[in-house]
């Protein structure tokens, strides 16, 4: 029994040496720049920064930089090629948002629906600050 098991395990490992043709994902190899960095480090840094803020379409909640999904890989390659061709990261982001909506960008846009998000820290801090200030004043007044 053990020998059979070992044989099966070895066969499985050998099978893994062959290119993946798994059930529910593409048979093709990844796109050229999916896992290959751009030669220019400054451009690669720009691409990397952008990729970390674009959401993977087929994952639960990850950026395309952190995902092995084929669509995420294709998108990484697309982004790297566009940056190498000289496109501005924000233009690429806008292009993606034009097609998929705000959902695809982790970096919030200027859409009015997101203004409360930006208002929140301001409101909370000023609220807290006012609370603290008036409390101090009261304290001082009470003491005097």
């Amino acid at each position: 029994m053990m020998r059979l098991l070992t044989a099966l395990l070895m066969a499985l490992s050998v099978a893994m040496l062959a290119p993946q043709s798994a059930s529910a994902q593409s048979a093709l190899p990844p796109a050229p720049y999916a896992n290959r960095q751009l030669d220019d480090p400054a451009l690669e840094a720009k691409a990397s920064a952008l990729m970390h803020t674009i959401r993977c379409l087929t994952c639960q909640s990850q950026s395309i930089a952190d995902s092995d999904a084929s669509m995420a890989s294709d998108m990484r390659s697309e982004i790297r090629e566009r940056i190498a061709a000289g496109e501005d990261p924000e233009a690429i982001r806008a292009w993606l948002i034009e097609r998929y909506g705000d959902w695809i960008s982790y970096k919030p846009t200027n859409d009015p629906i997101l203004w409360p998000l930006w208002a929140a820290p301001v409101l909370l801090i000023s609220g807290g600050g006012w609370l603290a200030y008036s409390r101090m004043r009261r304290r001082k007044g009470a003491k005097a």
Partner: protein, 648 residues
Amino acid sequence: MIAEAGLAALWLAAMLAGLQLVLAWTAVAQGNKEALRLVRPVAVAQGVLTGGAMVALIALFLRSDMSVYLVAANSHSMKPFIYKFAGAWGNHEGSMLLWIAVMSASGAAVALFERGLDRRTHIATLGAQAAISIGFYAFLLLASNPFKRLNPAAADGQGLNPLLQDPGLAFHPPTLYLGYVGLSVAFSFAVGALLTREVNARFARAIRPWVLGAWILLTFGIAAGSYWAYYELGWGGWWFWDPVENASLMPWLAATALLHSVSVLAARDALRAWTIMLAVVAFAMSMVGTFLVRSGILTSVHAFAVDPTRGSFILALLGIYIGGALALFALRVHTVNEGAPFDPLSREAMLVVNNLLLCVILGLVLIGTLYPLLTEMLGTSVSVGPPYFNAVIGPVTLIMMCFLVIGPSLRWRRDDPKAALRRTAPAVIAAVVTFGAVLLLADRPVGWLPLLGLTAAAAVAVASVAPLWKRNLLRTPLFTYGMVLAHLGVAVSVAGMASESAFSSERLAAAAPGDSFEISGYSVKLEKVMPIAGPNWTAMEASLVISRDGRVIATAKPQARFFSDPPTPTNESVQITRWNGQLYLVLGEALENGRWQLRIWWKPFVTLIWGGAAMIALGGVLALIGRVRRERPKPDRAPALDGAQALA
């Protein structure tokens, strides 16, 4: 047999919880002496029974009893022992049983060991604890029975998610649950004290060890979770502001604020209303966290198997308990009168600011986490992630660190501005020096947030040891060392975060055996890639030789692993830890012409993140031991107010 016994124990415990509540009510509201005496034994019995139920479930998993639905769905006979053990709580029902087991065990502990409270408040606390438990018993027994049978029994189980087959699994959930449930004890104390109108310094001293204990465990649990995700998921990320991560962070923020508020209440009999409200908020955040994780209303990488009906149950419980507590607070808030006054430049004032800032961060995390849900109801889909959270919470944290520089060295009640300024001078100098040093020595442009983070970390590090200045170190109380260590840990952790975010390097390579790659002065050479098998997996393992300056320093063997039950590919990355950072190595896919994808990172000082968190937790432990020893009640007299010590 074991399953039925476990279920019976649970039902019995649930009934005892009901009894405990009735007895406590009779005792506190009507002064019934008989009832008063019975409450504590009942609480202990309840704890023992649920403990027994948990042991029963673990036993079922260890024996791979496939006639129990939960075991068949989540375990497998070929799983290694420790993962069968930990698999008992690696699922919804099992983790809920763990929750209730810890809750009733804490209740038993409060019944047995709490001596600092007056009798009535003690019983009221146990009554509140019973009231909370009943809801969870109902949830468990009616909607999430862990002992459900499977008929006919399965031949073997469906295995456990291989991502969870990891030592981290053994530690992360139980410590977190101990933390969440510990906060339920704080909540019960607060409710008990509100009921008996005993919100004062004595109450604060009684509740403090429980808050400390829960907080220490939460700190450790969150840090462990972060480190687990870091090395398990294979992307080198340690925090993603994912809803489930936020769900654990929010109780911690509230608990930190509560901890500091309790200190003020114990020392100066001030901030009474704050302390009670924070205790309610902290437990509320525990429940919000549980709700978010199990209901499925937010998409997350970490979410359990989700079920909206379970979510509704938890939401109902949350509504009842927190609503009840808020109503009680509203009714009794006028009896929680003002404590002793204090000046704007005083330790109390700094702690008020600290609490406010922590609550601001808490509010921001809550809003950011729920916002996508809100917009979806208005028709649009948005994503709120690290760009938002880092952008808003980073600056608030920096502000908080500025106050952390000043705060601990101020005196209670009132301090002199000039003296305070003198005391903070060393920290300011450290900040300026660090600022300059980073700008001069950095090998790349540094973002303003990491730069200020490192600056603030230096200032806080120097300021955190200031309370030890000019003191007889042998006569300094242990809890002072705890405070120093914890604050120093904050500085260390922030320094690690800033350093990792500003100075990491990444290298992606298509490597053939024999190829070498450079990263940050290290040379990584792929020797070979070989198949390898484990107990329930097979893998391709790469042999990487790491050298620096021509000398070999390590060999790394990252794997691309494939589990058999259920079939899942995972990544077993390898980290080479040096004094100044980690090399993070991942083996990716096989590419054409015999090449393999390699991902290599150099992360400078990344281990400081969790090292700092460990220091924070350890500081808490020192403080806990110090307080428990100091305040072991002597039957003759009540302990003196800490206000007598200037810099406690």
